[in-house]
Symmetry: C2
Amino acid sequence: MSDAPPFRIGLLGRGTVGSAFETLVAERAARVAEITGMRPEIVGVLRRNEGDFEQILAESDLVVEVMGGIEPAREYALRAMAAGRHVVTANKQLLSHHGEELWAAAREHGVQLRFEAAVAGVVPVIRVLSESLAGAHVDRIHGIVNGTTNFILSQMAATGATYADALAEAQELGYAEADPSEDVNGKDAAAKMAILARLAFNTPVHIDDVVCEGIEHLTADDMAYARELGLGLKLLGTAERVGEDRLSVRVHPAFLYGAHPLASIDGPFNAVTIESQAITEITLSGPGAGGPQTASAVLGDVISAMIPPASTPETTERLRIEQDVESAFYLHLEVADRPGVLAQIAQLLGLQGASIKSVVQQGLGDNARLVMVTHPLLESRFFAACELIAGLDFVRARPRAIRVIDEQFTA
Amino acid sequence: MSDAPPFRIGLLGRGTVGSAFETLVAERAARVAEITGMRPEIVGVLRRNEGDFEQILAESDLVVEVMGGIEPAREYALRAMAAGRHVVTANKQLLSHHGEELWAAAREHGVQLRFEAAVAGVVPVIRVLSESLAGAHVDRIHGIVNGTTNFILSQMAATGATYADALAEAQELGYAEADPSEDVNGKDAAAKMAILARLAFNTPVHIDDVVCEGIEHLTADDMAYARELGLGLKLLGTAERVGEDRLSVRVHPAFLYGAHPLASIDGPFNAVTIESQAITEITLSGPGAGGPQTASAVLGDVISAMIPPASTPETTERLRIEQDVESAFYLHLEVADRPGVLAQIAQLLGLQGASIKSVVQQGLGDNARLVMVTHPLLESRFFAACELIAGLDFVRARPRAIRVIDEQFTA
């Protein structure tokens, strides 16, 4: 197939992913020609101080955007689509802020906007949601969609390391950036969950709709108690229907029981579980990031764009975003061990509708610790109870709360 | 979208999957119309003694084949494609015997032949292999692709039940048929692995190319020793490159180390791991069968067929099928406990190039048991050693061997 006509790709950005994509296209061009009848070829690369967007656009059949950030990526993607070019992007920030504008542009100009690489790298969750499950009624998505934090939490669990030490190790191994803020504060995962929620629930979701809590406050201590309770700690993204017309999208640390399909996902991996009554649940997992992996997801999208297909349909649902949902909680209290302590705490929790599922008590005198797991209740009510508990005179430190995903993970 | 034009579906077969598909189409027609602009509608159903194929064909835009078996399913699929109809099938027997003929017909007539439901139910492995990874160089696939046997093995492991008892329980719960032969002898899994191997390695694979061993001979005893060695037992399908131009496709019981992504797949579930240097590995898992699940996979294919796309490209590789590959083995021996027994066995193994990784010895006198795990070696050489060991006068029963998948599951 060396006589196959060329399919011309304009590449915007040449960092880790862009370079890996160049290598991959060179390696796999012959195979892609066998599949599609056209030979992919990178005809122009836009770098920080090199290359001209207009010229690249004029010479391309398709534009790959891996520069990241919102501007000028947004402007370039819009201009490429307006000029009739398909766009493949790995840009989660762009899509979680301006997705509807971009998808509308794709529909308007009859081109494709593909973005598998924006969420969970080579784990094909975008394709599965938009194609395999296009006709399904999705009830819930759970995702570990940030490899950096999953590595840090796995290390803390496996070695008893502190958050700071595990982060330092992640940085040493290249799993975390020098400035890891966007990963550890949950914002990276929030952007990805906004994109997944939009596809699964067919309703507009902006990154600002996502309730978000990071992992910076977790301690080795929490891990140790969790082990005693048979739980594993993950930075978990959730998108789920609440009632008929509401949607909750959130990212926060959560304990999972061992039987949960995401509980065994360790290290810098990503995994997503999609629940729907008709299918029970399916789980997809794999490496979440890395240049070659992300480049492989980009190439899969490029091939699909070379063969006809569909653009992302307009959203037709208008679900309300729900911020307050029911969760079970792990609650860690440092208390003076006096008579009636547990009773008073249980009473305050009970007033808010929280009932206790299990309790572990450790230590004596002024250094006692109470670790408990509650049954699910509205988060606002649980936090209200925590405020009251924090004010009790025998409570020695700020209560620590972490959500627990129940064994009953299919609703 | 109630004014959307109809998209007419002819349904061949109305067993568990066919009925579930009818229900699902009725439930999801409005959503499908939003996505595709056309409203799916079942215009005719062919049952054993009811309906006329020619009439159904004449009135349909697409034919769904869920009747099973080879004839007349093959004839109907070929005639439907010759008449310009897309075909969606859940028929693994048909595709593993006559896939190349059917895919060629689809290409010749410019129609689509889709078959997600033929392998692993709603787990979207067909789509991921043929679309997301279309351009990837796959090194290996591991799959648990038969839910019945996975349920039986999970029960044996969890409760210490015998094979016969676990099978009876599976039948009671509806996870196994009254005649479970095709499941427990590995033939069902072999058909599915032939289909996966064809897609992943782009080379023709017939079900008769698949080396196949069932689970009927496994004992509760094997399970108990396995636990001691930290292993879990699965009916594992494997398709992998051997050298540059050979391919091994096989189904057999195998022990997995706890860290393997398939080790935690318990109950009537399916899961597939796809390994490729560029992507490391991705794992897909979910319910393997059941009417609603399979129907959901069929509907995903119907929607994709309603929107343009690509047909399965012709195979361009011609890999030789390799029957003899390297495996590590668990070997269970009942021996008289005399001096020099282990030395003689180790020597016989050593002559064939087998070295022992770990040994557990139990019992004394005439009832001693030796359970060992070897490092990987060519299966033919291991079995030759077993024959010699079986002939030793102190070996009391036929040696039992089960393959072990090494912790180094990425090549």
